[in-house]
């Protein structure tokens, strides 16, 4: 029968093999915590399962972009000019590059100015994926060779004269309309646009067709042929029975080739 076990009678009273095993275990545990003490970094676990000090070292990384507020102190003229222009949303450093060093040492770190055409083209080249209304040019055709800033002040790029065609900012619509049944119709046939729309687009939005009768002007069965389009033969439908529940452009979006 086993003797009742009583550690308080002294370590020595324990059987030898138990004492040896206990020493080994104590050593192992001690080795584990010693190793852990040296291997696990000091602040590990302070905030979570990570080294809290890492956050501090990331927080003090150097800043390269000073921010758009930083330029105003020394360049009030450029800031004021840009504030009222088409480029008001474009940060100074989007064009001049990261300038934090320049703000602390203006003479020692001179910013560069992007004077070549390729730079402006990155934002302004035509791409159908760009949202409608964004001014886009064809870099090959738009006043080639000359640098953009010779005609457009980069801090206030208002064109020397307002763009004449709607395609300047609605390139994608213009291009799809050109292959649609309405290719021969001017945009202004269906949209009345204030000339100021080309200068302050969102303040002076053009009109849009609002009723079935609008399309009926040309397409109603009793509509007279459009006087200013002598060659045009708009096909006719009966407004009363043709898709009466909807406005026409829910089925025929007039800009698109699939209008038919």
């Amino acid at each position: 029968m086993a003797r009742p076990f009583a550690p308080w009678r002294g370590f020595a009273a324990m059987p030898q093999q138990v004492r040896r095993l206990a020493v080994v275990i104590v050593l192992l545990v001690a080795a584990y915590f010693t190793a852990r003490h040296f291997l696990v970094p000091r602040t590990f676990g302070e905030k979570g399962h990570y080294r809290a000090a890492a956050v501090d070292s990331i927080a003090v990384l150097p800043i390269h972009y000073a921010g758009r507020e930083a330029c105003a102190m020394c360049h009030p003229a450029e800031v004021a000019k840009k504030a009222g222009s088409f480029h008001r949303g474009v940060s100074c450093e989007a064009c001049h590059g990261p300038e934090a060093a320049h703000t602390t040492d203006p003479i020692g770190h001179k910013p560069t100015a992007p004077r070549d055409r390729a730079f402006c083209v990155r934002c302004h080249a035509y791409d159908p994926a760009r949202p409608t209304g964004f001014p886009q040019i064809d870099p090959v055709l738009h006043n080639p060779v000359r640098n953009c800033f010779t005609c457009h002040n980069p801090h206030d790029p208002t064109p020397p004269r307002p763009p004449e065609t709607c395609a300047a900012c609605h390139g994608e619509i213009a291009r799809t309309k050109a292959v649609s049944p309405h290719a021969q119709l001017a945009c202004t046939e269906c949209h009345t646009a204030d000339p100021r729309h080309a200068q302050a687009p969102r303040q002076f939005l053009p009109s849009k067709p609002a009723s079935r009768e609008f399309c009926g002007r040309c397409h109603a069965s009793d509509a007279p042929p459009p006087a200013h389009l002598p060659d045009a033969r708009p096909p006719k439908v009966d407004l009363a029975t043709h898709g009466p529940r909807y406005v026409c452009w829910q089925c025929h979006y007039p800009h698109y080739p699939e209008a038919r």
Binding site: R3, P7, K47, R51, S91, A94, G97
Partner: protein, 271 residues
């Protein structure tokens, strides 16, 4: 059975195990006390946890919780964000490593989508080759989603990547062992292995800028305001307005990563 025999010294197994526990328990407990995490894995960590994470005494990470809004319909695909990110964060300039980048989606008439992102969009996009009709196309800026429930953090074997109290997922580069688990685990492809240091890198929301009250570099240079930076839980934040006025989606919501990058006008084709 041999197992049922009393131990030769006259001490039974139960007593022996008890003795071992009695010896080891104080050691384990005392060590655990210094090593145990304070467990602040939500944004609003216990207010009694230690002082500000950043050393700057003014900045208290517990009063912030960051997120970003991206309005896809405003993006013009100029790639300024990707370029500025590289300049701000010393990201390798080669066309393979990005912390943020811009993708162009072209949706064809057969409902298939082609996605390209040459050099992250930094040099612009070549005109799309329209094989067959194009139904629509648009740009989608991408970056780390700073998930509230980040899979990358879960898989890190050493605790070198983590969520901060202010909701930013960071990498401890001096502690990272470069095992690439987190890169594999990220469903958004937002991480890469730095070719020189061989440690994982990713978007930090420009943590060094936001702790000083600045916006991330990509937001700073975005010309159309397609990117909005702010606080998720604060009523007076541009992000709150953004989320109030737009129908919001996040990327891959079915993965339950709870991203904190909120997309407005996102197309269903975007992955």
């Amino acid at each position: 059975m041999a197992d049922e025999r009393p131990t030769p010294g006259g001490i039974d197994r139960r007593a022996f195990v008890g003795a071992c526990v009695a010896v080891a328990a104080p050691l384990v407990l005392s060590a655990a006390q210094q090593a145990a995490p304070a467990a602040p894995d939500t944004a609003h960590a216990a207010p009694d946890s230690a002082q500000g994470a950043t050393g700057t005494p003014r900045y208290d990470p517990r009063t912030h919780y960051y997120g970003m809004g991206v309005d896809v319909s405003k993006c013009i695909g100029c790639g300024q964000c990707a370029a500025a990110c590289k300049a701000e964060n010393n990201v390798p300039l080669d066309p393979h490593h990005f912390r943020t980048w811009v993708e162009r989606y072209v949706i064809h008439e057969n409902a298939e989508a082609t996605v390209d992102s040459p050099n992250g969009g930094i040099d612009g996009f070549p005109a799309p080759v329209a094989e067959g009709g194009v139904v629509r196309s648009f740009f989608v800026p991408k970056l780390c989603n700073h998930c509230a429930n980040p899979p990358c953090v879960q898989v890190c074997p050493v605790g070198a990547t983590f969520s901060t109290e202010d909701g930013v997922v960071l990498v401890d580069e001096s502690y990272c062992i470069g095992c690439r688990y987190c890169i594999q685990a990220c469903p958004y492809g937002a991480r890469f292995l730095h070719p020189v240091s061989h440690t994982a890198q990713k978007c930090t929301f420009c943590y060094h800028r936001v702790v000083q009250g600045m916006v991330p570099a990509c937001v700073e240079v975005c010309p159309t305001g397609a990117r909005v930076f702010g606080e998720v839980h604060r009523p007076s934040s541009p992000l709150t307005r953004f989320r109030r006025f737009n129908a919001i989606q996040v990327l891959k919501p079915h993965l339950n990563t709870e991203p904190k990058v909120f997309y407005a006008n996102l197309d269903g084709q975007v992955r």
